[in-house]
């Protein structure tokens, strides 16, 4: 019998206190252990490790020891595929394979058996990196993050290649922000509270998002028109928030995750806020937890809090704890 989905957290959720120097990398891990926010721990290589993707033996051994002491386990390594790092040209597939392989070696050294990859890595590059992934026992998970979805052309091309190759070392990482119910109320409250907020731009944004969400129009066309309108009105901050809204809060239905459930290697349990009633108002967590449990997923639901964009004074440790309580409640109750 499957143990069901497991719980974990990505240290990305603690970006604010880490950057402010309130916690070192090691102290974050200890705190996660103390507060019971694991057992899974995910890190972003370029956030946590100065020399990344190079990882020293002593760093790796300290990291593994720290996790053990804190009763935690490594869930996934967040790799980055920096295809546009050069100003003169895009990274070639050969260079992408080098970048992938360096991070696969880092993942193995640190004890991670799953590595998050991003859409800059084309099917050919992933296929070329597959032998090293298999030999290293590191599964490559392509993150499906807003504005992508399971049926976006980029993802369809990967599905086709993954299906053809048939390896358990090539799979997907759903980010729940790709399958949202509404714009986070906290974002709208923050926007309305800004000094120079323009109600007309806010309304145009919520209407554009709604039309795209109901499938009444093309989301990319709505985004283009909206940003043009905000720019014409001279609303700089509004234009940025409009762009963010149209880019980050995805329209895929939660049910569509079923199409790739058998290939899910890890989950980014994205969330923006937890209400007083203990639920996430803009993401259908009850449905998602039921779906992933019944679908047989037994990897990590890695809590990823991104509300720092519009809620600067929230304690990330506290809100991750509340989100995990919510996930457990749904997983146990269903």
């Amino acid at each position: 019998m499957s143990a069901g989905p497991q719980i974990g957290v990505t240290l990305y959720s603690f970006t604010e206190p880490y950057h402010a120097g309130e916690y070192t990398f090691e102290e974050l891990i200890r705190r996660v252990g103390e507060l019971g926010l694991g057992p899974g721990v995910e890190i972003v290589g370029f956030q946590s490790i100065r020399s990344f993707p190079a990882v020293s033996d002593s760093f790796a051994s300290r990291f593994r020891g720290l996790l053990d002491e804190a009763g935690l386990v490594p869930s996934a390594l967040g790799a980055n595929i920096d295809v546009c790092r050069r100003r003169d040209r895009r990274m070639s597939d050969e260079e992408t394979v080098e970048v992938l392989e360096a991070q696969i070696r880092a993942a193995k050294k640190l004890g991670f058996r799953v590595m998050r990859v991003q859409f800059g890595a084309a099917p050919d590059a992933l296929e070329a990196a597959l032998p090293l992934a298999e030999a290293s026992d590191v599964k490559l998970g392509m993150e499906i993050h807003a504005p992508h979805s399971v049926d976006h052309p980029t993802i369809l091309a990967l599905r086709e290649r993954f299906d053809r190759l048939g390896s358990p070392y090539l799979g997907f990482i759903p980010d729940f922000g790709a399958s949202m119910e509404s714009i986070p109320p906290g974002l709208l409250a923050h926007w309305r509270g800004l000094d120079a907020a323009r109600p007309d731009v806010i309304e145009a944004t919520t209407e554009a998002w709604g039309r795209a969400h109901r499938g009444e129009s093309d989301p990319f066309e709505e985004r283009r028109r909206l940003i043009e309108e905000a720019t014409e009105l001279g609303d700089g901050p509004g234009r940025d928030l409009a762009a963010l809204t149209m880019n980050l809060f995805g329209h895929q239905s939660p049910a569509a995750w079923d199409e790739i459930m058998h290939q899910v290697v890890h989950v980014h349990a994205k969330f923006y806020e937890i209400g007083a009633d203990g639920t996430e108002p803009s993401i259908r967590y009850a449905d998602l937890m039921d779906r992933f449990r019944r679908g047989g997923f037994d990897g990590f639901l890695s809590s990823e809090w991104e509300g720092n964009l519009f809620s600067p004074n929230v304690d990330p440790f506290d809100i991750v704890g509340r989100q995990q309580q919510m996930m457990r409640r749904y997983l146990e109750g269903s």
Binding site: T15, Q47, D82
Partner: protein, 127 residues
Amino acid sequence: MPEVLGGSLRRTGYGYEVGVRLPWYRALPLSCVGFGLTVDGDEVAPQRIRLHVNDRDYALEELAELYAEHWFVLDEAGLRVDADEPLGAGEHEVAVEVELRPPYIFDEETGEVVSFRRVAEARLTVS
């Protein structure tokens, strides 16, 4: 994200230096960052600015080539200005603009990297 302005403004042998932090959650290649600096209402000419990072100084125009070197998120870097005259004692209005082009976020339709602008202003006392 951290405040762009580290809060430090100090005199140096050739002018002054403004402390800056990378306003992003992960380290970025130097080829992905750009800077603008205005002090007491006057825009500082880019040719007068060097970025001090990783124990080295780079002219701003050199940064575009440096795709293999990173600015780590926990590090304060310095915008080092070659000034004709020393900065007067006391407070100065400092505004820094950082342009970020995260190399993994691009528009698949246009092929262009998505760019983010962060502006920070503060009254800093020179030390």
